[in-house]
Structures are given as C-alpha cells and as structure tokens.
Amino acid sequence: MKDIFVLIEHRRGEMRDVSVEMLCGAGKLGGTVVAVLLGKDVDAFADKAAGYADKVLYVNDAMFENYNSELYQKALSALIKEHGPGLVLMGNTAQGVDLAPALAVELGAPLVTDVTAVEMDGDKPKPTRTFYGGKLDAHLAMKDADLYILTIREATFQAEDPSKSGEIVKVDNPVSEDVAYRKFVEYVEPEVGDVDITQSTLLVGVGRGIREDKNMPVVEELAQAIGADLAASRAVVDAGWLPSDRQVGISGKTVKPKLYLAVGISGAFQHVTGMKGSEVIVAINKDPDAPIFGIADYGIVDDLFKVVPKLVEKIKELKGA
C-alpha cells in the first residue's frame, strides 16, 4: 500500500487537534503514515507529530509562518509529486476546505470533503459523508486514480496516546518564490463584550425558569465554564435581565451554534424557530413535557438550580484534566 500523507494543521503556535486525530486514524488504514508539516520554527509540532507518524516531512521556512493556501498548494503539490503518496488527508477545516479542492484540480486527484468515515479497498478509499445537513449518510465510490484526497471532519477519528517515533526529515522548501496575489494580513480576534449571538459557536440560552435577576450568576457561570455566550428567551429580555440583542426567536435573532444549551426555557414555538438549526441542542427543564425536549438531542429533567451548579463543577473537572 502506498503512503498516506497527513497535513498537520497549526495556527498561532498551536497544533490543532484534528491533526493528531487524522494521524491516529490514518494509522488504522494501513500503509506508512507521513505527517507533512509546513511552518516556521515549529520543531515542537514536528516532535509531537513524530509520536503518531512513521515519518515527518518538515519544511521550515518563513513563508509558512501563517497559512496561505496558495503557498501550501505549491509546496504540497511538489512534495506529493516527489514522494508519490496514494492518499492525502487534511482537516475539513477553514484551512483544509480553502486548499484541498484547488490541489485536487491541479493534480487531477479525486477529492471527497467532509468525510465522517472511511474504509480502504486496497489503495482506494471508500468514504462516507453526510448530505442534507446531517439528515442522510452518503456512501461514495471514488474514481480510479493514483492519488486520492480526503478532508476529514473533526472528531471523526479518535485521538490516542502517542505510540510511534517517526523519523523527522527536514526538507528544503520546494517553493522558491512567495506569491503576490494572495497575502496574509492579520488575524483578528472576535470582538469581546459586544457579543453577536448569531456568530457564537456555543450558546447557553436562559429562560424564565431562572426566575429572578439575582439568579443570573447561575447561568453566567455555566456559560463561562463552557466558553459559551448567553442567549435568552423573550421572557428574560423583557424582564431586563439580558439586553435585547440576546433574544433568540421570531422577534429576536436566529442562531445556529454548534451547541445550544437551553436552561429553563419551555421551548415555545416562537423561541424554537430561532434556534432549531443548532447542531446539538441540550435542554435542562423540570417539566418532562416541556416542548423543548421535542427538539433537543439530550435532556435533563430536573431543577436547574440543582443541576447547573453540578454541571459547572463537572465541566471544570473535565477541562482541568
């Protein structure tokens, strides 16, 4: 079986989790796992990747200090041509999606994006991905080729403990010239303070179940522990416990975060309309018949004042661990 290339993704001094996940997943597909690392003085990432890979190809050049898909494409295409892997894996991330399709077109390599499971049929991958916003699994057959590219959804593979000690091979930068037509300028952090809940990836929605203004710290602590922003039902906004730009619903904002944790919200249709598109919905409500459970993925039927403080504790424990 031919080698598998795994592109290591890193940003601002951090190697992203999906990289290790992919290295571990690739190890199970068979073949030699080659981590490809492009960066400037990121030896620590090379060392880390070596714990999961059979080999690390490490290009250390100022050109790769920040991600630029055009430069990545040039470097990868040169490395691929030189080393001839049969499969390239990248994260289905803002970085991978900005890069993989162009590389695939350039190299004439079949690509499947946002893969959630993969099996190998010899050198040929058989990927599964979702269609219609996760409502169906699609099993795909790729065209015959010498090289395949997949972008892998985060958390598709499990990260495990390092078990290898691959050789770190420093390679000369195959790209001779910087490109002028696409230049990295800067990273800008999302604004703090002035929260736009439509942009939040994690939300704790609070409803009338919180009862009084003075109870708000209960949910504030939860939001803080998770790293989420606070959203609210109209009941809470009307009461003046949160500003109106936090209101979710037909007369408020429509939100689609990765997590919507509804605390003490009944799930009135007017509210649900604004948040039903969330990826994972969790509800904490003492009423087992509260309609919110009809659209939630997970629910706890209990008094929020009992559950939420415990939840904060547990999350802090997990995060500390």
């Binding site: 009461a239 037909i250 007369s251």
Partner: protein, 378 residues
C-alpha cells in the same frame, strides 16, 4: 417607483383629514410607543418626504387594530397610510430579517412559520378528519379554513383540535383542505407586501372555489376578515367559527352536558369585533356553558383593548419599556377575579397567555380559546 404608486394624497384621501386627532387619541399603541398616526396623515401629503417618512420605525408599531379608522369622523383609514409606507420599505427590500423570513416562508411554504407544507396537517394526525377533494360530486356543508398558526404552533393546535371535537359533537358535515392550504395573507397585506398578498388572493380564491361546499368557516378572525372582505371572487359565504357554533347551539344541534364553574371573561379580538361587528356570538356561546359566571372587561366590545398580536406584530418587536397591552389586559382580568380569559383568535391566545406568565398569574388564570372551553364542557 412610478409616480402613481406614490400618490398618497389621492389614494388615502389625505386632504379630507381635519387633523382632529381622534385617531391618535384612540390608538392603543400610542400608549407605549412613539406612533402618532395623525401626524402621518399630515406629513405624507408632501410626496417628496414619503421616502424619508417611510424610514421611521414607528410605522411598524401599528397593530392594524382599526380603532383609528373606527373613530375617524371623516371616515378615513389612517392605518392604511402606515401600511402604504410599509409598502415603500418592502419595495426597497428594507425590512427586518424576521419579517423577511416570514414573507419568504409564505412564498415558499404557504405559511409564515418557516415550516414545511408536509407538516401542515400534523395537528390533526390523531384525528379522523375528511380532507376535501377538489371538484367533488358531493357537496360538503362546511369547508374549514385553518390558520397557519393553528396548524403549526403546538399551543394553538389545541384550538383546532377542539374545533374538530365540537363539530363532531354537533354532527356537522365538514372537510379540511389539507396540505394545499396556504396562508390567507392577512398579515402579508398589513406588512405592506401588496404583490404577495395579490398572489395569496388569486391562488386561494382559485383553490377555495374548486371545492364543492356551501360555506367556508375560518378559525382565525384574521383569515375570516381577509377571506370575507379582501378576497376577490369567492363563490361561497365566509363565516367565523363563532357564528357557526352559535348557530349550532341555537338550532339545538350542539348540547353542552358538562358544567364549568368558573369566572370567565372574554377579550374581543379586534378583527372580529371592531372590524366585523361580531360581538354577540362569542358571548352567547360562553354564557350557554353551564356553570360559567360571565364578567365583562370594563373596556369591551367596540372599546376593547388591542392585544398587539396583529398587523404583522408577531414579527416586529416595538421599542418600548412600557407595559405590553396584553399585560394591562391580564391585570384588568385579575382585578375582576377572572379565572379564564376566553379569546377567539390565535394571536390573542398567544399574547395574553404570555402576559399571564409575565404577571405571574398563570397558576390562577387560564387563557383559553372559546373552543377549548367548549370542548372541555362536552
């Protein structure tokens, strides 16, 4: 924009206005927002300013309750000027996202709630109901026109279910439209989306005329008003359910066996009372329920206070720190010791029920549609 569309002076007879201010004086939302409808009767006479005036946020405060028109000594309809201004904004595409989404959903799925057509009949999934076939040989007495809110809002669905229970008890020969039923467009017109309303009018009239029925009964006063007064070319008469049920009681077709020993008051929906003079039927039905002690609001019938649910207000929140009118209403009901506030409109049900929670009286006071009250007594 063409000049004829801008001719507000003629279209709304603005020169007939004597600036007496009775409209603003009676306007319920003037109590809690900056809307002063009289000023618009004057300011919009200057065509050059229309664009600028239409940018004022107050034009979206109007609930189209019709009080201003009912009070105008010159027979003018000030609310229509506000709707006209909304139209200008709609043509420019400048509307709140919530309004945009509701209108797009009506265009796409035939309801403002962003729900698929395929779920339109979910409320009746456990009921044995007849769905009418177009051009059927046999005549069905009553075609039920179920409001989108009754179809999709889980709370309001119970009202539609109660209607079925009542009609079955009275042995009425009725049928439903089913998944092809579409929004009546009442809110569409009041949000100023004239073109889309014309579509609702044309398509619904064609659909409704395709059924072999004697009459159409609407569950919501908003649908009722629109079907009856704003559609063009409907072949059969339109009734509100309170008219049908009152008729069933009068003719002895409906018996009410159980007692409801509660203090009940009734909130007149603007679209049923002020706009269609249906005041007596609802009261007749409620008072026929054994055990009911009926009490009137101080502000009742023509003077009834708007609940702020109509005129597209489901999708537009007014900037105001003042109490919602629905809350004032619940406060009044509490004072008179009402245990049930009966309504006959899905929007009133939602706004008033919400207000009982704000006021913290949801344990001792229920907001119910007359149909629910009646179904409980069957």
């Amino acid at each position: 924009m063409c000049a004829e569309e801008l001719d507000f002076v003629e279209k709304y007879d603005l020169l007939g206005c004597i600036q007496c201010g009775r409209c603003t004086g009676g306007c319920p939302v003037a109590l809690r927002t900056d809307l002063r409808v009289r000023c618009f009767m004057y300011d919009t006479q200057n065509e050059e300013r229309l664009e600028e005036i239409s940018e004022k946020p107050e034009i979206w405060d109007c609930t189209t309750c019709y009080t201003c028109a009912a009070r105008c000594p010159k027979g003018l309809e000030p609310l229509e000027v506000l709707i006209g201004l909304r139209s200008l904004q709609i043509e420019e595409g400048k509307v709140q996202p919530t309004v945009r989404d509701a209108l797009e959903s009506i265009f796409k799925d035939g309801n403002p709630w962003g729900s698929p057509r395929a779920k339109r009949l979910d409320w009746a999934s456990d009921l044995d109901v007849k769905v009418l076939e177009p051009e059927a040989e046999e005549t069905t007495d009553v075609l039920l026109f179920i409001c989108c809110t009754d179809c999709y809002d889980p709370r309001v669905m119970k009202v539609a279910q109660a209607l079925i229970k009542v009609l079955n008890a009275a042995g009425v020969d009725y049928g439903l439209i089913g998944e092809d039923e579409s929004c009546c467009g009442s809110e569409v017109r009041r949000l100023g989306e004239e073109g889309l309303f014309e579509m609702c009018d044309e398509e619904n009239v064609e659909l409704l005329n395709s059924f072999n029925v004697n009459r159409i009964v609407a569950i919501s006063p908003h649908c009722y008003n629109t079907l009856k007064k704003e559609y063009h070319g409907l072949k059969v008469p339109v009734l509100h359910y309170t008219e049908l049920v009152a008729e069933l009681l009068e003719e002895g077709k409906l018996e009410i066996p159980k007692e409801i020993a509660k203090v009940v008051t009734y909130h007149d929906p603007c679209f049923l009372g002020k706009q269609n003079d249906i005041y007596d039927e609802p009261r007749y039905i409620i008072t026929r329920i054994p055990g009911v002690e009926f009490k009137e609001f101080d502000r009742c019938r023509e003077r009834s206070l708007c609940c702020e649910g109509g005129g597209g207000k489901m999708w537009v929140e007014s900037e105001s720190k003042e109490e919602r009118l629905a809350e004032i209403r619940i406060e009044d009901a509490k004072e008179m010791g009402a245990q049930v506030v009966a309504v006959a409109c899905p929007f009133c049900l939602l706004t008033l029920e919400d207000a009982t929670k704000v006021k913290g009286v949801e344990e001792e006071m229920q907001v119910m549609d007359i149909l629910e009250l009646l179904a409980e007594a069957l």
